[in-house]
Amino acid sequence: GAGVSQSPSNKVTEKGKDVELRCDPISGHTALYWYRQSLGQGLEFLIYFQGNSAPDKSGLPSDRFSAERTGGSVSTLTIQRTQQEDSAVYLCASSLEAGGNQPQHFGDGTRLSIL
């Protein structure tokens, strides 16, 4: 389809392992956002990209979290040495451009469970 695609949809891993989450935005969208949503909670902002650059990384919870976007399209969020508190749904969104006047289009998320 033409929507935002995230993979995997579910990921179960052991504490201490590294995980990589992928987001494929809508074609032509220059802005890409990563959020984290814990059970019953709102969306916690992690990072956003305008093109390949990340003007705001302030939401990344620790240096175990990193994200990149190459070619202005696909983005990966990497969590190193996972901890149980990293368990959450990780949501990606894209918009035509960055800014509050642009609707964000979300994927259905990756549900990450750390054992």
Binding site: Y33, F45, G100, G109
Partner: protein, 114 residues
């Protein structure tokens, strides 16, 4: 500190009534405020956007107001239906912070009973 607060975690209403959801913010001066709907297991879906110089915006059975003096937005669903049951999230931008990202409230879970 900056806060976005949405009224009560859950709101239950009878079919046909008007649902009113509240979004209050502190220490923000947003230029835009957005409302999203989220169903269980799915990502949020954009509903409406309102600008700081707009008092009210309508779309079918939905109405959003934006009061920058009260620092509040109200989201109304008229003639509510069981299919409107979902979690509704407000989001606003951080005008003046040289950022273009949005911040979301925790959401209000609406249940419309037949």
């Amino acid at each position: 500190s900056q806060k976005i607060e949405q009224n009560s975690e859950a709101l239950n209403i009878q079919e046909g009534k008007t649902a009113t959801l509240t979004c209050n913010y502190t220490n923000y001066s947003p230029a835009y405020l957005q409302w999203y709907r989220q169903d269980p297991g799915r990502g949020p879906v954009f509903l409406l956007l309102i600008r700081e110089n707009e008092k009210e915006k309508r779309k079918e059975r939905l109405k959003v107001t934006f009061d920058t003096t009260l620092k509040q937005s109200l989201f109304h669903i008229t003639a509510s239906q069981p299919a409107d049951s979902a979690t509704y999230l407000c989001a606003l931008d951080k005008k003046g912070y040289n950022n273009n990202d949005m911040r979301f409230g925790a959401g209000t879970r609406l249940t419309v009973k037949p």
